[in-house]
Amino acid sequence: MLELNRRSFLQSLGGGLLIFWDASAQESGRRGGGERLPENVGAWLHIARDGSITGFTGKVEVGQNIRTSLTQAVADELRCDPQTVRLVMGDTSLTPWDAGTFGSRTTPTMAPVMRKMAATAREALIEEAGKVWNVDRASLTVANGSVLKAGSKKMGFGELAAKLDWVSVVGRDGLTTPATAWKTAGTSLPKVNARDLVSGRHKYASDQKLPGILFGRVLRPPSFGAKLVSADTTRASKMTGVTVIRDGDFLGVAATDEHLAGKALANIDAKWEEQPNSVGTSELFSYLVKDASDTPDATYTVSYIAHVPLEPRAGLAEWKDGKLTVWTGTQRPFGVRSEAASAFGLPEQHVRVIMPDTGSAYGGKHSGECAIEAAKLAKGAGKRVKLIWTREEEFTWAYFRPAGVIRISSSVGEDGILRSWEFHNYLSGPSGLKTPYEVPAKNEQFHRVESPLREGSYRGLASTANNFARESHMDELAAKASMDPLAFRLKNLKNERLIAVLQAAADRFEWKKCKASETRGFGLACGTEKGGYVGCCAEISLHGRQDIRIERVVTAWECGAIVNPEHLKNQVEGAVVMGLGGALFEAIDFGQGRIRNPLLSKYRVPRFSDVPKIDVVLLDRKDLPSVGAGETPIIGIAPAIANAIYSATRTRVRSLPMLPSLSV
C-alpha cells in the first residue's frame, strides 16, 4: 500500500477526501508536501463522494469494544451519526501499519489520531462550503453529515468531498473537541456491530469460508521439545480426500472435511524422541529462586495460567500467484505478516493478514502459529486450508501468563509510615513493579529467569502478580502496626488519583461499617498501572476451608475522561470476573514436558456461580486524557480477596491461586 502515491491511493478509494495521520509530519511540522505516502502512518480517514465515512486503523477488535469507541471519536469530531461511520481494522493490505493491539494503547494513542483526522476533515469540509457559497466560514455549522448555513443552505459531506477530491497529511492540532463538549463520545453507544453478534452473522476467523477449502489438523508431539524420529503416513495418505503434508518436523493433514482430517491424523503412526524436562509444577517455585540471594520477610507466588480465549486460534490460508492471504485471530496482524513472510521467504507485501473481529485474546494472541500452520498446509495441499486449534492445542501450544515468585522485605515506623521497601520479582515480570506508596528507601527489581513453559503477555501483564504481593504485604504491615488497612494505606499515599479511587471504593462498600467474623471477611486493595487507577473492596463468606464465596465486590476505576460509560463498566466487571479466576483457582499443572490439565473439564474458569455482586464506581475526569481500561481493573481483586480471607481467618494466603493453599 505504501508504495502507492497518495493521489492514486485516493483514486483507488473512488476519490473524495482522504486524511492521513503521519506521526513524523506532526513532529517536524511538515504539512502534506510531496507525493509519496508517508512511511510512518498511524491511521487514515476517508470521506467518499457518496458521503460514507470510513476510518482505517491497524488496531483490532477482540471484545474490548474499540470498534465502537473509535467510531465514537470519529463521529464526535464530524458531528455525525455514528451509524454513518465504518471502521476497517487490522487488515495489512487495507490499513496502515500498526505494532499491535496491546498495552491498553488504543484509547490513549489511536483515539486522539482518529479525532485529529476527523477534525481536520470537518474543517476542510466547512472551508470548502464557505468557498462554494462565498460566505464567511464562521457562519457555518456541521450536523448530520452536512455543512449548514443557518436557515438557508445545506450541503452533504459527500458532495463537498467530491469537490475537494483532496488528500491531506494531518499536521493540524488544536481542532479536536475537549471532553467537556463531547456529544457521541462520553455516551453509552451500544456496540456498533451488536446485531451481527447476537444473530450469529458475524464471521470470526474460525467462521471464514472460501470455495473448495480443505480442513487441516497438525500432528503434535507428546511433550515440549520432542523430536520427530519417524512417521508412517501410509494409511493416512491412502484415505480418499486426504493430503498429508510434511515439512521437517512439521506434519499435518488437509482433508475435505474436519471429521476426515481428524481420522487421518489418528492414522499417522509417529515415533518421537522426548527431551528430559526436569521442572514441573512441584519444583517450579524453588527453581525460580534458585539463584536468589535475598532473605525476604515474605514470599508470594503466582502460578502459570492460560488465557482460554473462547475462540481458539484459527487460520484460513489461501495461496495465489505465490502470494499468501490468511484470515486469523491475532492482536498483531502486521507481526503475523512478518512471521509468515519470514517462514516462507516472502517479501512482506506478498503476505496479507486479515483479522476479523475475534473471539477474545486477553494478551494471548500476539503470535501467528496457527496462521502459519494453515499456510503450510495450504501450500502443501495446493488448496485453501482452514485450521482451527482444538482447545487442547490452545491450552498446550500457545503461551501462558508466566508464573512468578515475589519476595518482599520492609519496615514501618511506629508512626505507621513506611521506612523501607525491598521488592524482588522472579520471572513473572516488571509491569506494576514500582510501589505507588511513599517510601524513603526502596529497591525494586525484576529478575529474569528462564521460563520452564512458553510465556507471554496476559491482560495487565505482571501487574496482577506485583499488585497482589504488594497489596497483600501492605495489609500485613497494617496488621503489624495495628492499623486499619484503609487508614494505613492513606497514611502512606500521596498520589491523589489513587487516593480518590481507594476512597471511592471504600465509601461505596461502606468499609467503616464492615466487621469481620470467622465466617465473613472484608478486604481492600488499590493499584495503578498504564495510567489507570483502581480501588477494590471484597466481601467473602466462608463455609469450610475450601468453600469460600465472594459475596460482593466494589471496584472504583478512573482512567481520565470516560469514552463509553456502559462499555467501561462492562470491561471493569469482566476484569473482576477474570481476575477472580486467577485469584482463586486457575492454574496450569505441568510436568514431564506436558500440560496435565489442557481441557476445560480440567482447568476451571469462572462461571455464573462464581460471580459475586459487582458494583462499579466510575470516576469521570473530563480534565484528563482518556487511557485504556481493558487491563488494569484486573489488578485489584486478588489482593482484596486475600486480605478479606485474612480478616476472617487470620490466615495469610501468599499464593495465587488461593484455594489450593487453603486446603492444606
Binding site: 477482540v62 471484545g63 474490548q64 469494544n65 453509552s188 451500544p190 456496540k191 451488536a194 446485531r195 453478534l197 447476537v198 444473530s199 450469529g200 452473522r201 458475524h202 464471521k203 470470526y204 474460525s206 467462521d207 469460508k209 480442513f215 472435511d257 474436519e258 471429521h259 482460554v308 480465549p309 473462547l310 475462540e311 481458539p312 473481529d357 475475534t358 473471539g359 477474545s360 486477553y362 482451527i388 482444538t390 482447545r391 456502559e566 462499555h567 462492562n570 470491561q571 466487571e573 469482566g574 476484569a575 473482576v576 470476573v577 477474570m578 481441557l599 476445560l600 473439564s601 474458569v605 469462572p606 462461571r607 455464573f608 456461580s609 460471580v611 455482586k613 459487582i614
Partner: protein, 160 residues
C-alpha cells in the same frame, strides 16, 4: 441424511458419527454455533434439538435425524430480533460475542421451560456456558429483561 434446520429441510451426506456442530458449520454454512472446547464444557456450540438445548459438539448428527434443529440464525423473525437477542444488546451482555450465540440459545430454551425464572434459576441453568470475558451479571440481567418482555407480549397477545 435429512435434517430439518431452522424450518428448512436440508440433505447432507455424512458420517452419522460426525458431531452436529461441524455438519452445521462446514456443510450447511451455519457458523453461528461455535467451537469452544469440544467436550460439552463451554456451551458455545448450543443449539435447540426438538426445542431442547443440546451441545452440538457432543451430538452425533445421526442421532437426531428427523428432529427440528434451531440454531442462533433461526431465532430472529427476519430483521425482527428475538426478545432474548434484543435484551442481550440492551444490557450490553457481551464483549467479544463468541459465547453469545450459545448463551442466547440456552436462554431461549430456559425461558420456554420457565417463563419467569429467578436469578438463581438463570445462573443454575446457564452454569454450563462459559463467558470468558466475564459478562455473566449482564447475561443474567438480559435473560430477566427478555423474560419480562416475553411475558408482557404473551399477556398482550392473549388480550388481543
Amino acid at each position: 441424511m435429512q435434517l430439518s434446520v431452522n424450518g428448512v429441510r436440508r440433505s447432507v451426506e455424512t458420517d452419522p458419527e460426525r458431531p452436529l456442530l461441524w455438519v452445521l458449520r462446514n456443510e450447511l454454512d451455519l457458523t453461528g454455533a461455535k467451537y469452544g472446547c469440544g467436550e460439552g464444557q463451554c456451551g458455545a456450540c448450543t443449539v435447540l434439538v426438538g426445542g431442547v438445548a443440546r451441545r452440538s459438539c457432543q451430538t452425533p448428527v445421526g442421532s437426531i435425524a428427523g428432529q427440528e434443529i434451531t440454531t442462533i440464525e433461526g431465532l430472529a423473525d427476519g430483521e425482527h430480533l428475538h426478545p432474548v437477542q434484543q435484551a442481550f444488546i440492551d444490557c450490553d451482555a457481551m464483549q467479544c460475542g463468541y459465547c453469545t450465540p450459545g448463551m442466547i440459545v440456552e436462554s431461549v430454551a430456559l425461558l420456554r421451560a420457565n417463563a419467569t425464572p429467578s436469578e438463581g434459576e438463570i445462573k443454575r441453568k446457564l452454569e454450563g456456558n462459559v463467558c470468558r470475558c466475564g459478562t455473566y451479571s449482564r447475561i443474567v440481567a438480559a435473560v430477566q429483561k427478555a423474560a419480562d418482555v416475553m411475558t408482557a407480549e404473551a399477556r398482550g397477545s392473549r388480550r388481543a
